[in-house]
């Protein structure tokens, strides 16, 4: 599936929710079910520090694709992180660079991607794109 197809899938999953409580409960559930990031990757270098919550992002580049692992100490953020990994992990740099996480807006959670220092999500997305840009350039040089 393409990134956009997965985003559509997510939007459809969320459209079933009648109220905010169900939406957030679901996010918390997804967050709870996420495989925790390997402890050895929860290091300063991988930390995206936000004032409201912390996000750790680890990546590996193999066979032309970037695999991401991530986590947050706040459950709602963790749920959003899980969704972002669903669209962005195990993708080529080109795919990552060419798409935007528009699903977040479409499921009514745009405020969580706001450009404040707060929850680290926007910074994480930017970081993922930076990795994609870097790997694209490295691949092009070969």
């Amino acid at each position: 599936m393409t990134i956009d197809e997965i985003q559509q899938e997510i939007v459809e999953e969320f459209s079933g929710f009648e109220d905010w409580m169900d939406k957030y409960s679901y996010l918390i559930e997804i967050g709870n079910e996420m495989t925790p990031i390997d402890a050895k990757y929860k290091v300063e270098n991988n930390l995206i520090r936000g004032c409201q919550s912390r996000v750790w992002l680890h990546q590996e580049f193999t066979e032309g694709k970037i695999k991401f692992e991530a986590e947050s100490d706040a459950l709602i953020v963790k749920g959003l992180v899980a969704l972002l990994l669903r669209i962005y992990s195990d993708r080529t740099p080109k795919e990552i660079l060419e798409s935007e996480p528009r699903f977040i807006d479409e499921i009514g959670l745009r405020q969580h991607l706001s450009p404040t220092r707060s929850n680290g999500l926007l910074a994480m997305v930017k970081q993922m794109k930076l990795y994609a840009l870097a790997y694209e350039k490295i691949s092009a040089k070969k």
Binding site: M21, Y24, Q52, R54, D73, I76, V77
Partner: protein
Amino acid sequence: MIPDISKIRKDFPILDQKVHGKPLIYFDNAATSQRPIQVIERMNEFSLHTNANIHRATHYLANKTTEAFEAGRETVRQYINAAEAAEVIFTHGTTESINLVAFSFGEAFIKVGDEVLITEMEHHANIVPWQMMCKRRGAILKVLPFRDNGELQIELLDSLITSKTKILAVAHVSNTLGTINPIREIILKAHLKNVPVLIDGAQSAPHIKIDVQELGCDFYAFSGHKIYGPTGIGALYGKRKWLDQMPPFMGGGEMIDRVTFAKTTYNQLPYKFEPGTPNYVGAIGFAAAIDYIQDNEHQPFSNYEHDLLTVATEKLKQIEGLKIYGEAPSKAAVICFNIEGVHPFDLGTLLDQLGIAVRTGRLCADPVMDHYEVENMVRASFAFYNTFDEINAFYKALIRLKAMF
């Protein structure tokens, strides 16, 4: 006299709105307060009819504006009972006020090896300017710690004030712990050793009647936007004996006496510390806010806020797994807490869905977070327009949300 809160609330149109379909419950007053319509109208009326730059021209509008600005200064002077209006400097807020003192006092009085004493519970605004000054002047920053219950370890004060201590800076009320510090006692102890004291009054001035002469403090800083006035304006009170000896902080127009390229001389107080065009609309709003509080009688508001704190604390303590940070016997209406197993960000986000506005995060007080070894906290802070019904709704919301985790 018990204030008629429902009547008071009508003065604050912003409170009458729905957030995500629920009535707004605004519990973030320690971050900023709301403005009564009287303040908003005064500022609008001013901008509509009277606006001109101050102290500069002799035309009608300039005179009216200057009068209003200086009358505003007198209102602030009288509110804190400063000895003279020249000791009241208009700044852009508490943070700028503290930066001004740290810089200028530093230039005038601090030498290599001198000491500056602050406390562990300070807001970053009363930490960072001193760190910057100490680095610049080669001085040492020392810290008075606090106990887990939120009280300063006053018994350590005498040993921390040494012959090298040149200034002590402390919050009147902590923005996290809510502790009302015994500043009279602190100022007395410091003065016995000839150490001047700066009080960060950002959280106290809105809620406690201040008399700087009676307190004896050497500097007192507070902000307009926390005292039901506009943003971008604040006041620094300083005893003339200090301010006269301190060089200007920022340079520009108004703060000068005469400028030549060879030499420039400075204006007298308070203008020496008021460069450029001030936020005169803000100053007029600031004064209108103080008038509002005084018209409505300050003390009954204080008592009512204390009752809100008492009821809220009682209710929160009934919630299993909820921990309150800071329970000093003398406390302002600020409650910082965490619920075990619930991240503050998650709680704040969900409370917002119920129309309840609280603050979450590190609250500009990293050392307080470090003291309790937490990353973040939730903070509810009240003002005289909050109600017991709102506190009930908050309690019910917490119970309901806690069950989601």
